[in-house]
């Protein structure tokens, strides 16, 4: 590890060490005090299911069933820890790798695959689970989150003290995204409006082939205070610490305390996407190093030591994961090609003469082949 620059591990909030030992932190230990064995097992289960799903999706891509897949391998703790800190009314604006967060929102993970199979640009109703569509244009959605949070303020859903009403908004983005103008404008707008927003940056150390040192020269968490946004660095492979720092940031947001920047320092254990080949730009030694710090392993070790992780529970989750895998395969294979005419649907919410005319022409054109005219 470097001790300076954006890849240092200095100043990370940690509650569970890589070897699975609990450590105390004066500010954050109280934030996880209420998590009993069942809750901890729940986090473990979440991570295991998400990883299984991720593995399954990767395999499906290899089999040609998906056009592309972006793994979240290695980032399960950051995603599940932060996601489980959310309240139902909170709203999430993800990037494209937040499968773990999606799961915590109650989105059936299989729904994520329509996009990657190429049958839908979205795939779910964001308002059902308060989890917005994936956004592929890096950083753009951080402004949407900020605006949404400004709307929450206008709705009077901040600082009322009513835990079922006060609402926070969370947006997820990567280390690479911090270089984009939009992400910095989001910090400006969030700060000036004191918006109830958590900017959750997963510094997984790589933006495709570029290490975080190509995007910044100091830790990304340093960015916040320069905009008047408090920030915290957390060990992103420690699900408890991620839960704790997010819970605190959410509470600040909901109570009217304004935005927080969270930098979760983690590692993209897989390729950027199934199209990528990390061997071109990073070492096996680095990958090994991080495999030793697998976010699931450390929780496994800890819960095994405390006796919370019984064989029965493991078997139960294993079965559940198998079922999810099976369900995922079936779901994907059943996702047929959409009707061609859907291409023309929902371009506008109200009629548009050009779309209507083109659609009419196209339908007539298609129909002309019905009689077998196609060359």
């Amino acid at each position: 590890m470097t001790t300076s620059g954006p890849l240092t591990d200095d100043g990370l909030v940690q509650l569970l060490t890589p070897t699975g030992e609990r450590v105390d932190h004066p500010d954050y230990t109280p934030r996880v005090a209420h998590l009993d064995d069942e809750a901890l097992r729940g986090l473990w289960r979440d991570m295991v299911l998400v990883r299984r799903f991720d593995t399954e999706a990767t395999a499906l891509q290899r089999q040609g069933e998906l056009g592309l897949w972006a793994q979240c391998l290695g980032q399960e703790a950051a995603q599940v820890g932060s996601g489980r800190a959310l309240a139902p009314q909170d709203y999430v604006f993800p990037s494209y790798r937040e499968h773990g967060v999606a799961h915590t929102r109650g989105l059936d993970l299989t729904e994520l695959l329509r996009l990657f199979r190429g049958v839908d640009h979205g795939g779910w109703d964001p308002t059902d689970v308060n989890f917005h569509l994936y956004t592929l244009v890096i950083g753009s959605h951080t402004l949407h989150a900020t605006g949404y949070a400004m709307g929450v303020q206008r709705d009077g859903a901040v600082g009322t003290g009513d835990p079922g009403r006060d609402t926070a908004v969370v947006t997820y983005f990567g280390d690479g995204a911090t270089a984009q103008g939009d992400v910095n404008e989001a910090l400006v707008f969030a700060a000036v409006n004191n918006a109830p927003l958590v900017l959750f940056c997963q510094n997984n150390q790589w933006a495709i082939s570029e290490p975080t040192t190509r995007q910044a020269r100091v830790p990304l968490a340093a960015r916040g205070p320069g905009f008047g946004v408090p920030s915290v660095r957390v060990d992103g492979n420690d699900v408890l610490a991620c839960y704790a720092v997010t819970a605190e940031a959410l509470e600040r947001a909901r109570s009217g305390g304004g935005p927080t920047l969270v930098e979760a320092f983690t590692y993209r254990m897989g390729a950027h996407t199934t199209s990528d080949d990390p061997s071109r730009y990073r070492s096996a030694a680095e990958e090994d190093y991080w495999r030793q710090r697998d976010p699931i392993d450390r929780l496994t070790t800890y819960l095994t030591a405390t006796g919370a992780l019984t064989d029965a529970f493991r078997a139960e989750v294993e079965a559940e994961a198998d079922a999810l895998g099976e369900r995922t395969r079936t779901f994907v294979r059943a996702l047929g090609r959409p009707e061609t005419s859907t291409m023309f649907e929902h371009v506008y919410a109200t009629p548009h003469a050009v779309v209507d005319a083109e659609r009419a022409w196209f339908e007539q054109y298609e129909a002309s082949f019905a009689g077998g005219e196609q060359r």
Binding site: D125, T127, G147, A149, R154, V188, H346, Y348, A349, T350
Partner: protein
């Protein structure tokens, strides 16, 4: 019906006020639109009357303005953004092109983004660079956006309210050179009950020899051309497109089938401008009726020139009349 005589700017101001009164979810966002009332005073008095939460002076960042407007719309608001000048819309181009336009489609109709982006555009005001441009085609090419431009106070008043009421994102191009021109506006009529002004063209003056197609700032020019041509015994039909997207050529084609000749005029450069599409479409629709190719008059393929030369650059009375002569001489 009570008609009031007012400037184009005041007509928009009045329309914005009505929209703010009518729907508590409507809000205005932009640079200097609050206490100052906007650099053109189009939002004059609105911050005072509706407060800083509904008439928001934003940070100086156009991408941020449009990006946060998208988020506000997702939360149920109807943001109306003001971009200070045409030349400053480009920092927001990504948010408009990849986000605003596509959200409805990407969500298969589950999400609407009723966002209006007001852009004072066009030249003729003696300004420095970046303050006189006509970028409308750069938005009209992108599906998912409606692109409209009113040409007189009455239409401005109606169209801004219909744009705000629309569930679709609307790029609302205001011909700033016409802001101080006056017209009668029926401020009592309910624009939401009136016929849609966001779907098609209107014939402003009928004629038999040539069809002159314009939008926004060039509509007034076209009407002057029709007057001048009339004095030379030529009958010019003037069509105001009103909307660039959708482009509804029905009214134009109907006219061209009668006149057999067509001239399109806009301030934007001719090369790859909106007139190209009008010409291509009209030629396709009216091929056997055309006595001459559709001619186009507009800006040249140069950056908008210095103020002292802008009147030579802009398609004024003389250049349009020349095109009318040429199309008739064919």
């Amino acid at each position: 019906m009570t008609t009031q005589r007012m400037t184009f700017a005041k007509a928009i101001n009045t329309g914005l006020r009505k929209a703010l009164e009518h729907d508590p979810k409507v809000m205005l966002m932009g640079e200097d639109i609050g206490a100052l009332g906007g650099v053109f005073r189009v939002t004059d008095g609105l911050a005072k009357d509706f407060g800083g939460d509904r008439v928001v002076d934003t940070p100086l960042a156009e991408s941020g303005i449009v990006g946060t407007a998208i988020g506000l719309a997702l939360r149920g608001y109807r943001p109306v953004c003001e971009i200070q000048f045409d030349g400053f819309i480009f920092p927001a181009f990504d948010q408009i092109t990849t986000q605003l336009s596509k959200m409805h489609y990407r969500s298969r109709g589950r999400l609407n983004l009723p966002v209006v982006i007001r852009v004072p555009y066009g030249g003729g005001i003696g300004a420095v660079e970046h303050h006189s441009e006509s970028p409308e085609v750069l938005f009209a090419h992108t599906a998912g956006l409606r692109v409209v431009s009113p040409s007189d106070p009455q239409d401005a008043f109606t169209m801004i309210q219909q744009a705000i009421a629309s569930p679709d994102p609307v790029m609302f191009f205001e011909p700033k050179g016409r802001y101080w021109e006056k017209g009668d506006v029926d401020t009592d009529a309910d624009p939401l009950a009136a016929a849609s002004t966001l779907d098609g063209a209107r014939v402003l003056r009928s004629g038999t020899d040539v069809t002159l197609v314009a939008h926004g700032p060039t509509v007034a020019t076209a009407l002057k051309v029709a007057d001048a041509a009339a004095s030379e015994g030529r009958s010019v039909e003037v069509v105001d497109l009103r909307t660039i997207s959708p482009l509804d050529t029905t009214a134009v084609a109907e006219s061209v089938r009668r006149t057999g000749r067509c001239v399109v005029v806009h301030e934007a450069p001719v090369l790859y401008g909106t007139g190209a599409e009008v010409a291509a479409r009209i030629t396709e629709e009216c091929f056997y009726h055309l006595e001459a190719p559709v001619l186009r008059v507009g800006g040249f393929h140069t950056p908008y020139p210095v103020a002292k030369l802008e009147h030579e650059y802009l398609p004024g009375l003389d250049r349009v009349l020349d095109a009318v002569d040429r199309v008739l001489a064919h």
